[in-house]
Amino acid sequence: MPAPAATYERVVYKNPSEHHYMKVCLEFQDCGVGLNAAQFKQLLISAVKDLFGEVDAALPLDILCYEEKTLSAILRICSSGLVKLWSSLTLLGSYKGKKCAFRVIQVSPFLLALSGNSRELVLD
């Protein structure tokens, strides 16, 4: 008896989400440098302005939450500007003469995905 023809259904989900969310952390070479939320945002915008100019510095970028102690933040950017923001964060080298670097911990088109990071799971 010939096997019955297999039926399948293919579902393609094209991600239509408008925003991407990034969890980033700013590290300084020296300790003891503090930034408040406004200075942090100014730093991000000046990084994008250096690399991509005034047109892309006006991209709608939001800091959803910011922790001053650890200098980590969750950013929201429109999806078309993700590559530009990420590349300007990569190329940012200093703040007011002090060397620093951005560490990108997680990027996702869904905010909920940033709440749990499988890299931080600890095995017993």
């Binding site: 994008v48 250096d50 991509f52 100019g53 892309d56």
Partner: protein, 178 residues
């Protein structure tokens, strides 16, 4: 074929001050456009646009400028032109603005010599420029009040019409030959 493709932007520099056009130089203009692209599009834009960038034609009397840029980045150059607000030369600053008239596509890459000897290169830009200049002459004729000026402009209009007829007949001859 594998080659670098360019786009040609035909622009007009408009200014109230008559000294602005006279101080127009291709180096001054080139540095002005590059600075504006660097301001608007950053380091990335400045580097991307300056590779194939050149001022191909410049007419200080009419303020017509022909810029060349690479095909991949011509939109960066085009979008930076409206942000040019002044021309600075030898410490003097003249307010002006750029009016983009035409964007041309090149097929071959050769220098332009005269109208009859151009084998289809920056021809669209050149044709457009000729028609535009003719229309500008007619507009000037309507606007001018002085008799001596009127005669001079009428002479140049009739001369350009004669040239147009000659050029059309020579083009037809060239096509029939082919």
């Amino acid at each position: 074929m594998v080659r670098f493709k360019h786009r040609y932007l035909l622009c007009e520099l408009v200014s109230d001050d008559p000294r602005c056009r006279l101080s127009l130089d291709d180096r001054v203009l080139s540095s002005l456009v590059r600075d504006t692209i660097a301001r608007m599009h950053g380091t990335f834009g400045a580097a991307a646009c300056s590779i194939g960038f050149a001022v191909r034609y410049l007419n200080a009397y009419t303020g017509i400028v022909l810029l060349r840029c690479r095909k991949e980045f011509y939109q960066l150059v085009w979008s930076a032109l409206p942000f040019i607000t002044y021309l600075e030369n030898k410490g003097h600053r003249y307010p002006c603005f750029f009016n983009t008239l035409h964007v041309g596509v090149e097929t071959f890459h050769k220098l332009l010599t005269t109208i009859t000897h151009m084998p289809g290169t920056i021809r669209t830009c050149q044709k457009f420029l000729i028609q535009y200049n003719r229309k500008q002459l007619l507009i000037l004729l309507q606007n001018c009040t002085d008799e001596g000026e009127r005669e001079a402009i009428q002479k140049s209009v009739t001369r350009s019409c004669l040239l147009e007829e000659e050029e059309e007949s020579s083009e037809e001859a060239a096509e029939t030959m082919e």
